[in-house]
Symmetry: C2
Subunit: 194 residues, 2 copies
């Protein structure tokens, strides 16, 4: 049987692994040398769970707090895009822990623009399915504003399309610093009836 | 916070609901007036489960039988596309139960081409996330060949791009015959680095 996904002609690299132990400690940096991905998410992160409560992004479809299966188990950003965002904000750097990222990758051009249902696979077999880009919102903006007063509003505008992606765990396994990231994308085309 | 998904300017309609009670009874028609969708899939179908064993579609990424989170909980096809496939095969009809479909929709042009991460929502709140198009494979082909000798090979070739989509349950609820289907699609663009 054929596989619909095709491998892109480059691999990424895992540069940093982070967890968020508690929602109200956003912005703290908790590095890990490896991260165990289970079907409920990255071990040790408070986002772990098969389901989550729907949030303000989903108000057109769900009453706030509706239980939905989580497609936001992992937050993935890229070194290169964070540099671009920092340049746009005219600040020295945007630290990935300010964005509650779990995985910082390098070598993936326009990581945020990877198509939905793209698979990111690691040497252990661990695999993440990308649901969608992550919109810059007020929570990381507030953390950035704490470090660089005034940069919060700019972040929401300037980080759009560069703030990484969210996804869910398709196959369990460990991810280690320095791991290669193999990328599989679905057929690309534009749905015409919109 | 903004919602990345946008509603398309039409709704679909639920024309038929089916379950597959056992893998070795493929091709039998088991109609339902309503279908309960839980996070593990459509109640009563043998595909139900949070996880599944990886199959031949995934051999480039997983050893066969690896436990993966299921993105194939539901199979969705369209009345209009099944008519097109039947015309191409020069047979009177392609019955959805031959394809192990769970939901037959009408009114959704090019249903198979709906983008990955599209959300299909029903009046109860039940929501399906589309992972990817469903490739015509030898199992439904064999069922069609039993009814129309010789049509099996043609099915694999001619049904491509018209054989529906697979997806997973994002929000639980009931789906009923005649339900409207609201469709939310992610931003569309082509990833350039392939």
């Amino acid at each position: 049987m054929s596989d619909l996904l095709s491998k892109v002609p480059f691999t990424g690299r895992v540069e940093l692994l982070l967890i968020n132990p508690e929602p109200d400690r956003m912005g703290e940096r908790h590095e890990r040398a490896e991260l165990n991905l289970s079907f409920s998410g990255p071990e040790g992160d408070y986002h772990v769970g098969h389901t989550r409560a729907s949030d303000s992004r989903m108000l057109k479809r769900f009453k706030r707090g509706t239980t939905v299966r989580s497609a936001r188990q992992m937050s993935i950003v890229s070194v290169e895009e964070l540099v671009e965002v920092a340049e746009k904000l005219a600040i020295p750097e945007v630290r990935p822990e300010w964005l509650a990222a779990n995985l910082v990758a390098s070598g993936i051009p326009d990581l945020t623009l990877l198509p939905p249902s793209t698979r990111l696979q690691f040497p252990s077999g661990a695999t993440i399915v990308i649901d969608i880009e992550n919109l810059p919102c007020r929570y990381p903006a507030a953390v950035i504003g704490k470090h660089h007063p005034g940069a919060d509003a700019a972040f929401i505008k300037e980080a759009r399309g560069k703030r990484g992606v969210v996804g869910w765990i398709e196959a369990e396994g460990v991810v280690r610093l320095g791991d290669a990231i193999t990328i599989w994308i679905p057929p690309q085309r534009i749905y015409a009836h919109t």
